[in-house]
């Protein structure tokens, strides 16, 4: 059987557990080596490797149906993975299903965290790298470019990417609801715990103006401050200087509260027109719950943030069907456009096809 086709072969988080994915993931050298191996397969006209922590997927345009098996064999050989074992976790789709899958991947619909947008950049990078090396041609160029358009459309037409779904990002989003642009905000991180650090990093990535770390062990505070590009504050001073900060993240392991309502009242006297936002990620809690009753003071604890994250995830999940229908329609239209090219390409001379296998303008 010799049928030109578009295919995707690989494995992802839906079919392979983390222990398997660890063995399948390619490091940069392995990825380059695999590209070299695949470029030598006869009948593989175009290909792109999408390689992330959750998926290794090879998209290709093949002159015949057996080329996908050759691609799989080359991959298993390079990763020293038994073909029989790989086939237990293998993802293999052809033609319209493969196109539809790429559209869903690019839109974040196939991601572990439904609707996450990082995958869009990863797919774009993978495509750009393949295109730069002349590994893509008219078919994959068309499919990938349309996949990016469709992903953007899915984001704007459905709520698939709306609402943050991690505690750290929910906290940052809430801060934006209070302060708008975070560039002018000053963040105080109390404690150097893991979740506090993640939240501080999320604030950093959203452009928070300044970051200060206060921890009982000053050397740990300085170490974390240096890692985050922040400054350190002796722990005992945090209450007296509370009024200098807009956002206070509590993540200490202290057995009782470390920020009192009295200290907060005093701080608000110095900044009555500017809100103060407390994010209490500690258990037991770091911030006296009574601060929530003060005017212009907002307090969210771990449960509050987790609840919002869960609500956002539920809302995203509810959008899946809508998003899938939209992308399905796009995939069908795209396939109808691409399929004739595929047959035409295979019928022509290899040279004629190669002429089309140039980086897109």
């Amino acid at each position: 059987m010799s049928q030109p086709n578009v295919f995707v072969v690989g494995a992802n988080h839906h079919v392979a557990p983390i222990a398997v994915r660890e063995r399948l993931t390619l490091n940069p050298e392995q990825a380059t080596g695999l590209q070299h191996d695949l470029a030598g397969i006869a009948g593989l006209k175009e290909f792109t490797i999408v390689n992330t922590c959750n998926r290794i997927e090879i998209y290709g345009v093949a002159a015949s149906s057996d080329v996908a098996a050759a691609v799989q064999a080359a991959f298993c050989r390079r990763q020293r993975f038994a073909t029989e074992e790989f086939e237990q976790f293998r993802l293999e789709l052809r033609n319209q299903s493969a196109v539809g899958h790429l559209l869903e991947v690019a839109a974040g619909l196939d991601s572990q965290m439904v609707g996450e947008t990082e995958i869009f950049g990863q797919v774009k990078e993978a495509y750009a790298a393949a295109q730069e090396r002349g590994l893509t041609g008219p078919v994959l160029n068309r499919i990938f470019q349309k996949a990016f358009q469709s992903a953007k459309l899915a984001r704007s037409q459905t709520g698939i990417t709306e609402g943050q779904i991690s505690v750290a990002n929910v906290a940052v989003e809430l801060a934006a609801n209070i302060f708008g642009n975070l560039e002018q905000t000053r963040v105080l991180l109390l404690g150097a715990g893991d979740i506090g650090e993640k939240t501080a990093k999320a604030f950093r990535s959203r452009g928070a103006g300044s970051l200060v770390v206060a921890n009982r062990r000053m050397e740990r505070a300085m170490e974390l401050a240096s890692e985050l590009g922040a400054s350190a504050l002796p722990f005992g001073q945090h209450e007296g200087r509370l009024g200098e900060f807009d956002i206070v993240v509590g993540s200490t392991s202290a057995p009782e509260t470390v920020v009192s309502a009295q200290a907060t009242t005093a701080a608000m006297r110095h900044r009555p027109a500017r809100p103060l936002f407390f994010i209490d990620l500690a258990l037991p809690r770091d911030i006296d719950p009574a601060v929530a009753t003060l005017e212009n003071v907002f307090l969210y604890n771990l449960d509050d943030l987790a609840k919002i994250a869960a609500e956002n995830l539920t809302a995203r999940t509810a959008e899946i069907a809508k998003c899938r229908a939209l992308l399905g329609g796009r995939a069908e239209a795209l396939w109808q456009h691409v399929a004739p090219k595929l047959t035409g390409g295979s019928g022509g001379s290899p040279g004629a096809y190669e002429a089309g296998r140039q980086p897109a303008p």
Binding site: G159, G180, A273, F298, K307, I308
Partner: protein, 283 residues
Amino acid sequence: MLDLLTDRGWLWTAALFYLAVFVAGTVGLLRHGRRASSLTYALMLVGYAFQLAGLSLRGKAVGGCPLGNQFELFQFTAWSATTLYLMVGVTFRSSMLGYFTGCLAAVLSLISLSVPAWDATRNTKLFGGNPWIEFHAALALFSYGVFALLALTSVMFLFRNYSLKVKRVGGWFSFLPSILELEVIGLRLLVAAVTILTASLLVGAAWWLRDTASANLGKILVTVAVWAAALVVLGLRLGGRLLARRFAWACLALFAAALLSLGPVDSSRHQPAAKVAALQPAP
């Protein structure tokens, strides 16, 4: 179609476009949970153009700024709020402000159009051909439009504050601007309203001093009271003594006072001394 060419026809059409802003915004929020800022802006712009056409026709008919009766005062206030939104709405990047402005403009326009008695008497040459008095009146009414927008901002602030306090930040609450942005917008609008109203009163006072019989004392007292209240609220806000929710409620009270003052201001024009000419309402 001919009816549409009358001033009231244009104003009805404008009111329907403002109503469309409310309906489209509500449907968008309920069905899709998302805003459509460009649609809001476009509908507001079309409504504004119709309202401008209607008020221009009315102005031509009465030979001056159309501020001669309760109907015209309400229409002019709605028009002022819309003008300000179209000028600053993009800067504030808040389609919710457009949504609320559309609601307010629809309410003011539809109420004024639905009460025929408010437009039963039209006053021509209301300002006796004095452009300064006309300018004074137009400025005062424009400042009331600013108060209207300030009231909307205050409502948005109260909703945003409530949502953050009760920890319900999803749904349409997510489309509201941030607390700090609303505070800044509110303060700027109050400064603008007080400045415009002060300018209006200064112009009015300059002419009143020349001829103290030219204005009704009740009207002066009511207008000065609104201005003084606004000045006090601004002073307390700048002094850090009236903030957040209390500031928002005070701004709402100011707008209510401004609206209520339109009654005495309008009735003062029907004093025997006023140079008025009654016309039949348009069909």
